[in-house]
Structures are given as C-alpha cells and as structure tokens.
C-alpha cells in the first residue's frame, strides 16, 4: 500500500508540478491542505488529532509560536543543505528555540511598495513619506496583513522591526491613521491587483513582486521597489510535526523541498512565485530574470524579516490594526 503523508501548507505547495516529482521519486503521496494566516493553521491543528499532520509550512515569524505550543518536532540541521541557503534568510533565531532547530527556511520575498509608474514616480515610491502625503489621497492600497504593514511602519519610526516594544504602538497607531486617511482600500492579493490593474489606485503598501510580477507583461507601468528606509521580507519555513507518526517520510519531503529541484519548482509554483531559500535552486536564466535574481544581494541587505510578537503584543497589534484600519 502506498505511503501517504499529510501536509498543512500555503497554496504554492499544492501545485501538482511541485508535488508529483517527489511522489514519483519516493512513492510517497502528499495530501495537502492549504490555509491562509497562521491563526487558521493553529485553529485547524487544534481541531485535529496530533497524528493527523506530518508537515507544516508556516511564516518564519510564527515558528516560535508554533513551537511553544509543542506542535513541531526537533530536526537535525545537518539533514538539510543549510549552507546553500542565502545567509540573510537563515535566521537561526527564528528557526531555533533554546538552541534546538525546529524548521528550515524555504522561500521568501518582499512586502515593499508596488506602484503604477503612470501615477507615481519611482522616486516617490521609494520615499516612505509619500504614503501619507496629502496628494496621494485615495491613491493608496493597504495590503491586508497587519504584521507586514506594522513592521514597515516600525522602520518609518526609526526602529528595526525586531526591536518593537509596546511603547512604540501609539506612534505606530498615528502612522496607521495617516495611511488610513489616504487609503482607497485594504485588500487581499486579488483586490489589490484589480485596483492596480484597473487604475483605481497607484500605490500599494505591503506589495511586492508577488503582486505585480503576473501583471507586468501586459502592464509594464506596474513595478515594485524597496523604500529607501528599508523594506520588509516575508519568509516561509517548513518543519515536521511533533505528532507525526511518519517522521521519516516527512523529513524526506522537507529534504525534497530544500533540494535544488524542489526549490526551483516551489519558487515558480503556479499559485505564486517567490525567491527560493536555497541559492543553488535549479532555475533557468529566464526564471532567474523574472525573480530578479541578480538584484537579491541589494534587496536582502535593505530588508528585514517581520516582527515576531509575543502573545500579548500580537493581540495589542491586532486590536490596534482593527481599530485604526478597519
């Protein structure tokens, strides 16, 4: 009987082109269930039996939260080609708790500024002040994720995201209010894209390559840029579930994900593209060009991972977000 493992993943992992080579090579069938938002994943996991899941893909920022709930199993970093991973995204602080590794980085990209060059110049887009300048009223889209936007605003008030403390929240709140005053909408990927593509609004905070890459072929006026003060980097990590009864198969799947082939397929998955964590990913030149491979050193230097909040801080931030933005 064929072996099967169950994985709780973001949608890019559901692409058959990504999963099939693994199944062909190992005979292990991967059942995937996609989710959005770590909360959903946690809710899902709380609502299942421990043995139901074998692999979890999660925001790097949230690895600690998941580990604290005892959901991830320790893994041996030596099993994975971590040396090939871009140094900036290795982030052992995020992937380890008390020195034990629980997850490995797999894919990343940027929550920066996407814009319509017919409406704002690239210089304007790079200037964070543009977001709340009066002449942008009604021209702004806020991407609907509180962590990325608040992290960006941390930079705007002169703090690295990881340095945020509760006392900063009032200042962040002011900035949020200023953003809100200019915003035409607070949108998910498709609504934001629709607003950009139809010319409804010209600047998307929290946007990045994932928002405009698909549109550029037909609307070359759409582009993205990291602000001069620095931008925010999203990162996905993958780990083996603590309750899994098939940890070996799960490990094989994680190894596949981190392998050059798996990395190439994951980064160009039909759901969304993103940079592979592994710098040896087997990508064609054409693909590398679309991913702006060569510019990555500059981007990485200028970007910061999300702020990883404690439980109380998280609630305070969400309340702030709901209060000011929605």
């Amino acid at each position: 009987k064929a072996q099967e493992i169950n994985a709780l993943v973001w949608c890019d992992h559901t692409d058959p082109a990504f999963l099939e080579p693994f199944t062909e090579a190992t005979g292990i069938k991967v059942n995937v269930r996609e989710y959005e938002g770590t909360g959903t994943a946690l809710a899902l996991l709380e609502q299942s039996k421990p043995a139901d899941w074998d692999v979890l893909v999660v925001d790097t920022t949230d690895v600690r939260r998941v580990v604290e709930r005892g959901l991830l199993a320790p893994i041996d970093p030596a099993d994975f080609p971590l040396d090939d991973v871009f140094p900036e995204v290795r982030l052992s602080d995020y992937h380890q708790v008390d020195g034990v590794t629980y997850a490995v980085p797999e894919k990343f990209g940027y929550n920066a500024i996407a814009f319509d060059s017919n409406k704002v110049s690239i210089e304007q887009a790079r200037d964070i002040e543009t977001l709340w300048s009066a002449d942008q009223k009604g021209n702004l889209i806020i991407y609907d994720y509180y962590l990325s936007i608040i992290s960006q605003l941390a930079l705007a008030i002169g703090k690295e995201p990881s340095q945020l403390v509760a006392e900063d929240l009032p200042a962040i709140g002011e900035k949020l209010e200023a953003l809100r005053a200019n915003a035409a909408l607070v949108g998910d990927v498709v609504t934001s894209q629709t607003a950009l593509a139809t010319g409804q609004a010209g600047i998307l905070v929290g946007g990045g390559e994932y928002a405009v890459a698909g549109l550029q072929a037909e609307q070359p006026n759409l582009d993205w840029v990291l602000p001069d003060i620095g931008g925010i980097r999203w990162q996905q990590a993958v780990g083996v579930m603590a309750g899994s009864e098939k940890k070996e198969d799960a490990k094989k799947f994680v190894q596949y994900i981190l392998s050059p082939e798996g990395q190439a397929r994951l980064s160009t998955s039909s759901c969304y593209w993103g940079m592979p964590a592994n710098s040896k990913a087997a990508l064609s030149d054409e693909q590398k060009k679309r991913l702006r491979w060569d510019e990555q050193p500059g981007f990485l230097a200028k970007s910061y991972p999300y702020y990883s909040p404690t439980e109380e801080m998280d609630q305070a931030m969400q309340d702030l977000w709901a209060e000011k933005i929605q």
Partner: protein, 262 residues
C-alpha cells in the same frame, strides 16, 4: 389601444432594465473568461478559449469538481430522504411535541452558514476527520430544513387519503411508502433535490471550514482567487454557472414541463 401599447412598453422596459442589472456581472464574468490576456481587467481583448483549456486541464479543479458533485448528490439524497421521512411521520402520526420538532427541523434556516460551520468544526473535529464526509454532514444540516419545508406541505389531507386508500386495499406500510407516497410526490421530491443540490454546489463557507484534502469546487475557486488575478477563475466561474443552468434547464424541461399527451 394606445394605452395598451404604452402599458406593454412599460412592462417590457421594467423587465429589460431589471434583467440588465441582474445580468451585468454575469455577462462581465463570461466576457472576461474569454479575455485574451493574462490580466482580466477592462478593456476587453479577445476572444480566446485558452483559459477554459487550462481550467479543464487543471487536475485540482477537476478533482474538486468531482468532490462537489459527490457532496451535492450525497447530501441532497440524505436531506431529501430524512425530510421525506420526517414529513411523513409528522403529518401521519400523532407525534408528541410536533410543533417543537417542526421548529427544531426548521431552525437551521435562521442561523448563518458561518455559525453552522464553526459549530460543527469545534464540536466534531475530534471525532470526524476533515473530509468531504464532514462537508456532507454540514450540507445536510443546511439543506434538510429546505427540503423539509418543501416536502412537509405536500403531506396534506388529500395525500393522507391516498395513503389511507392504499392501506385499505391491503398495502403494508412499506408498500404504502414505496408504491404510493414516493411516486405520488415525485415532482416535489425532485424539486427539493434540485434545490438542495444547487445550494450545496455553490456553498463555500461550510465546505471551506470542514473539507480536508479534497476540497469542493467553491473552495478551490476561492483559493485561486486568493492567489492572484487570473482569467482562469472567470472561466471556472462561468463553468460553474453553465453547469447550474444546464441542471436547472434539465429539471425544468424534462421533469416539470408537462408532456403534451400527459
């Protein structure tokens, strides 16, 4: 004479304007499903059938379509069967607390799908794995009151007399049910089934909360829509619509339309 003509004009105008409003998004949807470009936004280019080809070749969409059909059929069959038995029992026999049972059976109509879904998720996930089976359970909860409302009113005194006649002629309860009740209620049963099926076919929230590795079509379409602008979603939406229309037309033409010689 003039009065009659202008009255006909007003009627036509009202109908045309109303239909224009009602069909505005549908036409747009269909139009951009044949839009020749990666970005389905105005202005329109095209046409092309590329996106239909893609969507039909998308294994995930196709298997979700299969799941949707299974969920629709199974949940509708269960809903109609339970509703039929309950309607039969409640109308035939002096069931204690009949009003209470009626209220219980109709109650889910008054509660949002979101709450039904969350309720099932929090109370049964320890016992029922997320799966299309779980979605079927949820859809039966949603559809049972509908089917019951449609079928219960059919059990009137004329229907009761039909069954009394059958018993009088020596039929057992089984024979009464299968040879009289079921066939004489054929039309309302089909109507209830059709309604249940179409509701299940387009239901998103409960399916989203309760499905596992084999999501239904609306959940997959929702997923497609979260990930980026893509004419494929328009093609998928159009296909869902076409299937529904075919189903509605089939029911209307072949099951309800009286044949001329009937």
């Amino acid at each position: 004479m003039n009065g009659r003509i202008s009255s006909a004009l007003i009627t036509t105008a009202i109908i045309v304007i109303a239909l224009a409003f009602i069909y505005l998004p549908v036409v747009t949807l269909v139009l951009f499903s044949v839009h020749d470009g990666r970005v389905p936004v105005p202005p329109f280019h095209g046409p092309t059938l590329e996106w239909y080809g893609r969507i039909l070749g998308n294994a995930r969409v196709m298997s979700a379509t299969g799941s949707s059909i299974v969920v629709g059929l199974v949940s509708s069959v269960i809903s109609v069967a339970l509703a039929l038995l309950a309607g039969w029992g409640l109308s035939r026999h002096r069931v204690p607390g009949r009003k209470l049972v009626e209220a219980l059976l109709l109650m889910p109509l008054a509660v949002s799908y979101l709450i039904v879904g969350i309720g099932l998720m929090v109370s049964f996930s320890d016992y029922v794995p997320k799966s299309i089976g779980f979605v079927v359970i949820g859809h039966v909860v949603l559809n049972l009151p509908l089917a019951f409302a449609i079928l219960y009113v059919q059990f009137d005194t004329a229907q009761a007399r039909l069954e009394a006649a059958a018993r009088d002629l020596g039929a057992s309860e089984m024979q009464v049910f299968f040879r009289v009740t079921l066939p004489s209620l054929k039309i309302p049963i089909i109507a209830a089934f059709a309604l249940c099926f179409t509701f299940s076919w387009d239901e998103f929230i409960v399916a989203f909360l309760l499905s596992g590795f084999d999501p239904t079509l609306p959940v997959v379409i929702w997923g497609l829509l979260r990930t980026g602008l893509d004419p494929q979603t328009n093609a998928a939406g159009t296909l869902v619509f076409l299937v529904s229309i075919c189903f509605a037309l089939f029911v209307e033409l072949f099951l309800f339309r009286k044949k001329p010689n009937d």
